[in-house]
């Protein structure tokens, strides 16, 4: 029984591996085809950054707006929460009422956190 289950699990994820390889090969072969067919010039102007006529000063990736990080932190919290909800969602009916109320409390605490972030203006794009 156990051997069969492991066999099935393995059988299920073999296509995932093959699809990963195929996805890679698909893009790679198209790009190689493009490299063979397309013209290629060593012209210096073509290697410059796309901007409004002049060359940019400093690298573009030096500074990024801080609000992006705020959303990323909030996302991290709620993403972990959804990971917790996944196993709960499939089994709470069998466990019974206390599992449901435990999740209500859990989501309630997170909702309070969301409300606090909202009130503090972390959700407001400025």
């Amino acid at each position: 029984m156990e051997v069969q289950q492991i066999d099935q699990l393995y059988g299920n994820y073999v296509p995932v591996l093959i699809a990963t390889i195929f996805g890679f090969v698909l893009v790679l072969s198209a790009l190689i085809g493009s490299r063979l067919l397309a013209p290629f010039s060593e012209e210096r102007e073509k290697g410059t950054t796309y901007e409004c006529g002049m060359l940019p000063i400093r690298r573009a990736s030096t500074n990024v707006g801080v609000r992006f990080y705020l959303y990323a932190i909030l996302f991290l919290i709620f993403d972990v929460e959804t990971v917790f909800i996944f196993p709960w969602a499939l089994s709470f009916v069998d466990i019974g009422v206390q599992a449901y109320w435990a999740m209500v409390v859990f989501i309630g605490i997170l909702a309070a956190g969301l409300g606090y972030a909202w009130k503090k203006g972390a959700l407001q794009w400025r």
């Binding site: 069969q4 699809a19 493009s34 940019p56 801080v66 609000r67 959303y71 009916v93 959700l123 794009w125």
Partner: protein, 374 residues
């Protein structure tokens, strides 16, 4: 362990190889078809004809475009980060392509029935956000950088409502297996019991695909194409291959999860022909809806976009999960789901309508300016 494919008994590896090859062919054809259909439909919405010259009724337009793109020069800016820049298209495309493994085309027609199908889908599909950030970061261009950051912010914000909406349905079906979810719908599809979850799923899916009106990361009038500014030739078109493949996958999964897939309304004991007609009609309807929204809704501003996800969709999705839990635990009648779902939907429409009628005062700096300044 052997697998049965068209009546042949095959080894795991051979079977998987053939199925994935079939998917590759199907994906290429369907992406080309979708691009052609989108151009035709958008043209109709704008009282134009769309492509007409290449082949009968312009049918070969996508093929001609693909050939043209392969023949175009593949440029890379001198200052770009070579590895990040060159690998971004792979990281965008492969996760989307992995989604095809669980798409339930017809009964018994999919690559594999994975027990944790929905979890697998949300886990793999969200990886492509990394690819968008890589494209933005690697290009060493300010437009690309802002576009990539916007793509990340939008992608992670709408990930949550999308997952919670799918989870609400999985609770009722008490399974993450897509085949079981389709079978669990019986005579009434889940869109009836979960109208709010369906709406949240649809909106969040639009945002995840960066389709208009949520195409802020690639907004031409603000960041001139966002992460793809520096891309050209076929490397550029890989992003669009991924976008249209994602469009098909999300529509097919939406059709299976919310609209009853191949089974509803004719029941499960159907021939392949009927299943094919039902499934393609439902998937096609969702795809048409996506094109329709693109043709009629203007692009959002980024503050509206983030606010809509965090202040409207996320609380409603959490409430939907809790309501479903209560109904299932206390064995309340299913009609409660319908009533609460419709009430939630009305509340959502009311909030949206109010926000549209009384827009916030415009910020002193435009959004793009403040992003560049910080």
């Amino acid at each position: 362990m052997n697998y049965d494919l068209f009546g042949l008994e095959l080894n795991v590896w051979v079977d998987a190889l053939i199925r994935v090859l079939l998917i590759v062919g199907f994906m290429t054809v369907s992406v080309m078809g979708l691009i052609y259909i989108e151009r035709k439909i958008l043209a109709r919405f704008q009282r134009r004809l769309g492509p007409t010259r290449t082949g009968p009724m312009g049918l070969l337009q996508s093929l001609a475009d693909a050939l043209k793109l392969i023949g175009k020069e593949d440029l890379r800016p001198k200052s770009a980060d070579p590895w990040t820049f060159e690998f971004a298209p792979y990281v965008v495309f492969i996760p989307v392509f992995l989604g095809f493994v669980i798409v339930p085309f017809l009964f018994g027609w999919q690559v594999r029935v994975i027990e944790l199908g929905l979890l697998y889908f949300v886990a793999t599909s969200s990886v492509n956000i990394v690819g968008w950030v890589m494209a933005g970061w690697g290009s060493d261009n300010r437009y690309a950088m802002i576009g990539g950051m916007r793509a990340a912010a939008q992608g992670i914000s709408y990930e949550l409502p999308l997952v919670l909406a799918l989870l609400a349905v999985a609770m009722i079906a008490s399974s993450l297996n897509l085949q079981e979810i389709v079978s669990a719908q019986g005579r009434v599809p889940f869109v009836v019991w979960q109208p709010l979850a369906f709406f949240i799923f649809f909106v969040a899916a639009l945002a995840e695909m960066n389709r208009p009106p949520f195409d802020i990361p690639i907004g031409e009038s603000e960041v001139v194409g966002g992460p793809f500014v520096e891309y050209s030739g076929f490397r550029w078109s890989v992003f669009f291959l991924a976008e249209y493949a994602a469009l098909f996958i999300l529509s097919a999964i939406g059709a299976a999860v919310f609209l009853g897939g191949w089974a509803w309304p004719l029941g499960e004991e159907l021939g392949r022909g009927w299943q094919l007609i039902l499934m393609s009609a439902k998937t096609g309807m969702l795809i048409f809806l996506v094109f329709w929204v693109r043709a009629s809704v203007p692009r959002l501003r980024i503050d509206q976009l983030m606010g809509y996800s965090w202040k409207v969709l996320l609380p409603l999705a959490l409430a939907q999960v809790l309501v479903n839990g209560a109904v299932l635990v206390y064995d309340w009648p299913k009609q409660v789901l319908l009533v609460t779902g419709v009430m939630g939907l009305l509340a959502l429409f009311w909030v949206t309508e109010r926000a549209v009628r009384q827009p916030r005062t415009r910020p002193a700096m435009t959004i793009a300016q403040s992003e560049a300044a910080s």
